[in-house]
């Protein structure tokens, strides 16, 4: 077409501001991350000193991973929903209900894999029901999942008469609590480094011609992968080995990151979250996308329910209480925007670990869980407030 011929018409675009690229360090660590990171480091150092050197031990790190795995898994799922502009308050109750399913199946003699798959299937069905009501009858997700929050826990408690189910077999407990042979840590570390090299190289070759700051992203990726590899080796080598919970964390985070970045569904997730009306006009089936999102969330809750059961050994009546709030807090601290359209799974994972660190550290110091909530609340509001403040300043151009 000869449209090309006119592409050089003098433009109506505003003059390009002559911006000097900021120093490398400032580009690598955005101010928001820098503040959170320094808070995190200070906290860790404080815990380390106050706990007489117990906080930074590979055993405690392994404990941290076991404690955080469930939150990371649920936060990953809920991040996808929040990016889509939706919301789910029922995740804690659904995780509880599915943990009952897994527990009952274990008691009935099913093997581990069937029990977990059974819990995930039930979770998927619950997600389908909630998603169906939300999309076909246009009931706000907030209302439907608030109903779910009450319903699934209520149903579960009625069904079991609030009795604990269990204990489950050691092989089920090993799902998250078992320790990998040391070689796993080495293989994992090698994989992390290889991935880091590959991803940073491909990023760089993609950007080097178009962007003056092409080096930033590769450096970040490489640094992160080295950090992960070092952590894996440290825990795997010095302690009693990496807990299997780490595998779930890695699996879910990698899977969901890949899904968001590369899949059609992931793309639609961002687009629907940015502006669902525009997405509809652009030919995206918004209702189906949201429905799939809720089915995904339910399935993830089924996995989380199984992991809770494995961690505790029995299914207790209060399993998964407040899980939805912790997961949402983790996602938001990790930079997932409640307005939709923005967020990453690795961010949500970092958020989950930050919260778990506070839990873990303060428990070591013997601080009551009531006081822990106060600290977590401050971190949450501080992190999000900081974000809003900087976004606003950027918009105002100050």
């Amino acid at each position: 077409m000869n449209m090309t011929a006119h592409a050089t018409t003098p433009s109506s675009s505003p003059p390009v501001p002559v911006a000097r690229p900021r120093p490398l360090i400032a580009r690598l660590i955005p101010l928001r991350t820098a503040v959170l990171l320094s808070a995190f480091v200070l906290l860790v150092l404080y815990f380390q000193v106050a706990s007489d050197g117990f906080f930074i031990t590979s055993n405690n790190a392994a404990l941290l991973i076991r404690q955080t795995a469930v939150v990371v898994v649920v936060a990953a799922g809920i991040s996808v929903l929040i990016i889509m502009g939706e919301f789910d308050l029922s995740v804690g109750s659904v995780a509880f209900f599915t943990s009952l399913i897994a527990g009952k199946m274990q008691m009935a003699g099913f093997d581990v894999a069937s029990s977990v798959l059974g819990a995930m299937a039930v979770g998927a069905i619950i997600g389908l029901i909630q998603g169906f009501i939300i999309t076909r009858f246009s009931v706000p997700a907030f209302v439907v999942t608030l109903g779910g929050l009450l319903l699934w826990r209520g149903l579960g408690l009625t069904w079991t008469n609030a009795q604990a189910i269990g204990p489950v077999s050691d092989s089920f407990t090993a799902l998250t609590e078992g320790r990998m042979p040391a070689v796993f840590a080495v293989v994992g570390a090698a994989l992390a480094i290889l991935y880091g090299l590959w991803a940073s190289a491909s990023q760089y070759s993609k950007l080097k011609h178009s962007s003056p700051t092409a080096i930033d992203e590769p450096i970040k990726i490489l640094f992160m992968s080295l950090l992960v590899a070092a952590t894996l080796l440290w825990i795997g080598h010095f302690g009693r080995g990496l807990p299997y919970a780490a595998l779930w964390i890695a699996g879910i985070v990698v899977l969901f990151e890949f899904m968001l970045a590369r899949s059609q569904f992931g793309r639609r997730t961002f687009l629907v979250g940015s502006n669902h009306e525009a997405a509809m006009y652009a030919g995206i089936n918004v209702k189906n996308t949201v429905l799939i999102g809720f089915v995904m969330m339910g399935t993830v809750c089924g996995l989380a329910g199984s992991m809770i059961l494995a961690r505790v050994g029995t299914s207790t009546p209060d399993a998964g209480t407040n899980l939805e709030l912790t997961a949402i807090a983790a996602a938001v601290i990790g930079g997932v925007s409640l307005r939709g359209g923005i967020g990453t799974i690795r961010g949500a994972m970092m958020g989950a670990f930050l919260l778990a660190n506070i839990d873990n550290g303060m428990s070591l110091l013997g601080v009551s869980s009531y006081a822990q909530n106060v600290v977590k609340a401050l971190i949450l509001v501080f992190a999000v407030g900081l974000d809003s403040y900087f976004t606003r300043r950027q918009l105002l151009g100050k």
């Binding site: 077409m1 000869n2 449209m3 090309t4 006119h6 592409a7 050089t8 018409t9 003098p10 433009s11 109506s12 675009s13 505003p14 003059p15 390009v16 501001p17 002559v18 911006a19 178009s210 962007s211 590369r262 899949s263 059609q264 569904f265 992931g266 793309r267 639609r268 961002f270 687009l271 940015s274 502006n275 009306e277 525009a278 997405a279 509809m280 006009y281 652009a282 030919g283 995206i284 089936n285 359209g341 923005i342 105002l396 151009g397 100050k398």
Partner: protein, 526 residues
């Protein structure tokens, strides 16, 4: 013809010197390292109407924000002098108290509050801690009396037409003894008739000794209302006209070098239809309710041939957008009749279906229905063609996507020519080009453009016309060009049909006169 600016004081006959109502000296403003205003001088006398024109991004809004106190004193450079005294407004409220009232382009009229409450929101009279409703209504009656507006101040604001909404804001400002009114695109959302009413009232306001600064894209209005004209380009004052010059001169000043390329837009040979029509609509009716009593479009018949641009002209509310939405499958109410796309019959039930049939719609409301805020130019472009770039059925083929986006950016002349920047960083005209690119998926047969140049400045407008022409002629696409701008319909379309009260009127060839189209659009032809 282009005078230099002098910050002036006016000699009046008896020899005393009165200072200007408002004077700005060397007003400059920068956001970070990005300078948006470069030392603007201006002055305005009582009872004078000063038009300020310029493309989007020329600095008009920034200048008005400085004058009205939205940008507080101290965060810009230069001096502001109101009737001889230095003014340092630290907020809009202070500007308002000094009698300088900014009426923004998008009015924030709250539909379920009363007209009186809307008029004096922010200045509600109180009695002790309570709000004095009787007094508010009395004020409103006085103010509305100024314009001889016959509305009940206690009625809800939702009962007002768009022009009446603007008038009540003006009336309220006058009632608070405004000395200077700054009107930002006051007629942008109005029909031609409504604009006439507003312009007439502006004469009345001016005669009361109030100064008016009038910002507009509609150059034809300036001759009707303004005494003097200032032209801004890229934050600089490039021309000051002591009287209203011919349209040509204003456009030249606004565009600078870009002017000559606009002039190069010559009419090509008249269009000769060939082959069978790509879009054929037979006895199509669109209703707003299931009982089919509230009609939005009635018995519509039209056909568009490959490569043809059919203009659909009509005033706001004639049913044009409803027709477009019905064809595109996104109208919520019942639709009856037949629609053939390239010979295949069917009325779409959803946007996906419509696109599957080869139909595409460039939406009227760019901000809420078009732009995917915060996402990149690339993602905004490829959203409608993701299905054609899959790998293994579930993944996005990124290589294919990059190629497609680079190709579209080049062909459409999107600036900046970068696929990864957020679409929010683009000007309105460039956003529109991105959205136009979104419509160009493989298998496109019929392209519906609903007000494609709304809120787009003149330079980008010319580019969009050329792109549309290129799409129609070179890709042999049928284009339905919906617009309420008579001039663009007259010059940019091969054939024009006019819609009035849900029905299509006579069709006109290219070059029909404004009078012909207007009389058809207002029902006079019947």
């Amino acid at each position: 013809m282009m005078n230099s600016i002098s910050s002036e004081t006016t000699e009046i006959p008896n020899g005393t010197v009165t200072s200007a109502l408002l004077e700005g000296r060397h007003l400059s403003k920068a956001y970070g390292s990005f300078r948006v205003l470069h030392g603007i001088d201006l002055s305005l006398k009582r009872g004078e109407v000063l038009a300020v024109v310029g493309e989007n991004g020329a600095g008009k809004s920034t200048l008005m924000k400085i004058l009205s106190g939205v940008i507080p004193s101290g965060s810009y450079e230069g001096d502001l002098i109101v009737e001889g005294e230095a003014a340092k407004f630290s907020s809009v409220q202070e500007g308002d108290a000094a009698g300088i009232v900014l009426v923004p382009q998008e009015l924030h009229v709250i539909p379920h509050l009363s007209i009186a409450e809307n008029m004096f929101a922010g200045h509600l009279p109180g009695r002790y801690a309570l709000y004095d409703e009787a007094k508010t209504v009395r004020w409103a009656e006085e103010a509305l009396g100024l314009f001889q507006m016959n509305v009940n101040p206690r009625a809800r604001a939702s009962t007002l037409s768009p022009s009446e909404r603007r008038l009540i804001v003006l009336a309220a400002a006058l009632h608070r003894s405004a000395r200077l009114l700054i009107l930002d695109e006051p007629t942008a959302a109005l029909t031609d008739t409504e604009s006439e009413v507003l312009l007439k009232q502006l004469h009345f306001i001016r005669n009361q000794g109030v100064g008016i600064i009038y910002i507009t894209h509609r150059l034809d209005e300036i001759g009707k209302v303004a005494d003097r004209v200032l032209v801004l380009r890229n934050g600089t004052l490039v021309a000051s006209f002591g009287s209203v010059p011919p349209r040509e001169q204003m456009v030249q000043a606004m565009l600078g070098d870009a002017f000559h390329s606009l002039k190069a837009l010559a009419d090509d040979a008249p269009f000769a239809p060939s082959g069978s029509p790509l879009l054929q609509v037979k006895a199509l009716s669109v209703y707003a309710d299931t009982a089919q009593t509230r009609t939005r479009a009635k018995d519509i018949n039209l056909e568009i041939y490959p490569g043809e641009i059919l203009g659909l002209y009509g005033l706001v509310g004639a049913g044009r957008t409803e027709l477009a939405r019905a064809l595109f499958g996104v109208w919520p109410g019942p639709v009856t009749g037949q629609c053939f796309i390239d010979g295949r019959e069917g009325i779409a039930n959803s946007a996906q279906q419509a696109m599957g049939m080869g139909l595409s719609l460039l939406v009227e409301d760019r901000k809420s229905q078009g732009v995917l805020q915060g996402q990149s130019v690339a993602w905004n472009m490829t959203v409608a063609m993701l299905k054609s770039m899959t790998r293994f059925g579930v993944l996005v083929d990124q290589g294919k996507e990059r190629e497609k986006v680079a190709d579209l950016i080049r062909k459409l002349g999107v600036r900046p020519a970068r696929s990864e920047v957020s679409i929010n960083a683009l000007s309105g005209g460039n956003q529109q080009k991105v959205l136009l690119g979104r419509c160009l998926f493989d298998g496109l047969k019929v392209l519906i453009l609903d007000e494609p140049t709304l809120g787009v400045d003149i330079g980008a407008r010319a580019e969009i016309y050329r792109l549309v022409r290129g799409i129609a002629r070179d890709l042999r696409i049928a284009v339905l060009f919906i617009s309420s701008d008579v001039d663009e319909v007259r010059t940019e379309c091969d054939r024009i049909v006019v819609m009035y009260k849900s029905r299509l009127q006579t069709s006109f060839p290219r070059g029909a006169t404004t009078e012909q189209l207007l009389s058809a659009a207002t029902g006079a032809a019947n």
